[in-house]
Amino acid sequence: METLSNLAFGLGVALTWQNILYCFIGCFLGTLVGVLPGIGPVATVAMLLPFTFGLGPAPALIMLAGIYYGAQYGGSTTAILVNIPGESSSVVTTLDGHQMARRGRAGPALGIAAIGSFIAGCIATLLIAYFAPPLAELALKFSPAEYFSLMVFGLIAAVVLARGSLVKAIAMVCFGILLGLVGTDVNSGVIRFAFGQAELADGLGFVALAMAFFGITDVVLNLEHKEKQQVFTSRIGSVLPTRADLRACFWSIVRGTSLGSLLGVLPGGGALLASFAAYMVEKKVAKPPRAFGAGDIRGVAAPESANNAGAQTSFIPMLTLGIPSNPTMALMVGALMIQGIAPGPQVMTERPELFWGLIASMWVGNLMLLVLNLPLVGLWIKLLAVPYRLLFPAIFVFCCIGAYAVDNKVFDVYALAGLSAAGYVLLKLDCEPAPMVLGYILGPMMEENLRRAMRISFGDPMVLITRPISAAFLIAAVALLLAIALPALRAKREEAMQE
């Protein structure tokens, strides 16, 4: 019952006309940018961050959440219509979605993606409302030792599930932590690693970092590859799926939603893993196994439901523990900090309007996506015709203004240029930026909690192992590392990533 009254309170916040407007703008802009091929949700959220600077915390977060699931949805549209995934989490949607489009069934494919996403979004919202409060309460009881171990576990789990070499990913986490430590040390007041630059006293700008690694470097790498001219041929037709489609998809949506909700909570999980897993499960479970890969509508419904459910439940660890499970959530944490709010379990009790307003707005946003996207499909298709040479300078403009406007410092613009070069070199050497951003966000928190834990235990590191919950997190982290190091499992993981 409390959940319902909390949700009602949240709806009261989300349904004020300003917040509806910001939610709408967020969904609209998110979809608009998300539709563009090659710009994923992380880049979209980073790029559109400056649009929220003038707003208060609740509207800003509501708008960012709208941008996030708008970008997800936009990516699916591109995947179905042009066979180019707008982002990695819609890669599997291209398999059956584009085949449907080729057979003149683009409309129902888009329709079922929207309907599946909506159902998944509603269920995931309820799950967040139900599970977040007890988790936050539990987290409030954590001592610094538990918190530190939880963050170690979160980072390890995130890199284990990430792409590419494990050692490199852990190294990138360390690099991120070190970058996060630049600036004034809260404990001693010493300014660290600033090279005498007064501008670095507040730390290396997070927005500049995120935009450099996910915005500018992406553009540069896209420019290196020869521009491909995409030709769109298929017609959309009616977007409403038939009754038979809906009947076929019902269980796919249910399965996708459950799997997605579960995987979204895991560190490193979120939308990408959810959609891949859902598609693989669907291929094995769905009966009759008809024609997966050749335009089976269930091959669109399941991953689309899963990625939306995963996108939403990944808010659970961010909102309750203050721990981002993927780079998009790291951006959300960064946005909270820009608004002057320390992320963590206390947000729910201290800023209930923010917490419940955001959750309720997710439901509003999903409804908006459903009514917004189906009629606007025509507009999104036109966007696909805009050549990249006109898009990327616009991305530059948003990134530069965003980097400057966080603190009104020109220094951050130069930092953006420098970090872009660093990100470019690292990406060329197959070092993924995602673990680095997580490390950057968690680094200062880890230091602070380790310091407090050591203060309490009189410098005895064994406290991390003697406290049961803390020990459990560390054991889980080690178990994950061992599991991935074992060759059999590694082969399996690579196989899963290949697919």
Binding site: I177, F193, P393, V410, S420, L429, D430, E447, R455
Partner: protein, 149 residues
């Protein structure tokens, strides 16, 4: 003689060793403290050492495991992009947002091999109008529009 079999890993490892080692060295100018009372140098030293160690593993592993060669670095896109962003910063400080966006768009466009000046002039105009309307007027961000002083 030992042969580098995975150049990407080799260079990535060296970079990590340099960064980790660099942070450890830089941290030594601050107070280290002990585990009970960790000084500002303690945590960066621990993490920097870990990074350097991981970098060493990655670099050494590149003699054993096979991997891809380092891909070609295309100087034009990254170089022009950085130049355009730096120009944006300089122009914003001295000439204001309008000139800064114009510089960013017109120079940045050359990061692509395909440049059409007329289109880019139009794009710059559109971006200026949009940014001024949305960021300065609508959102009220304190961006200087014109040259100061």
């Amino acid at each position: 003689m030992m042969r580098i079999r995975s150049p990407k890993d080799f260079w990535a490892g060296l970079i990590f060793v340099a960064i980790g080692g660099g942070f450890v060295l830089l941290a030594q100018q601050y107070r280290l403290g002990d585990m009970h009372r960790m000084g500002p140098a303690m945590f960066p030293t621990l993490i920097g050492a870990l990074l350097a160690a991981l970098g060493l593993i990655i670099a050494l592993r590149s003699f054993v495991l096979d991997g891809a060669p380092v891909p070609r670095f295309d100087a034009r896109p990254i170089g022009i992009s950085m130049l355009a962003i730096v120009l944006f910063g300089i122009a914003l400080q001295w000439l204001g947002l309008v000139a800064a966006i114009a510089a960013l768009v017109l120079v940045g466009a050359y990061a692509s091999r395909e440049v059409r000046l007329v289109d880019n002039l139009a794009l710059a105009a559109v971006m200026i109008v949009f940014s001024v309307a949305v960021f300065v007027w609508l959102l009220g961000l304190p961006l200087p529009l014109w040259p100061t002083s």
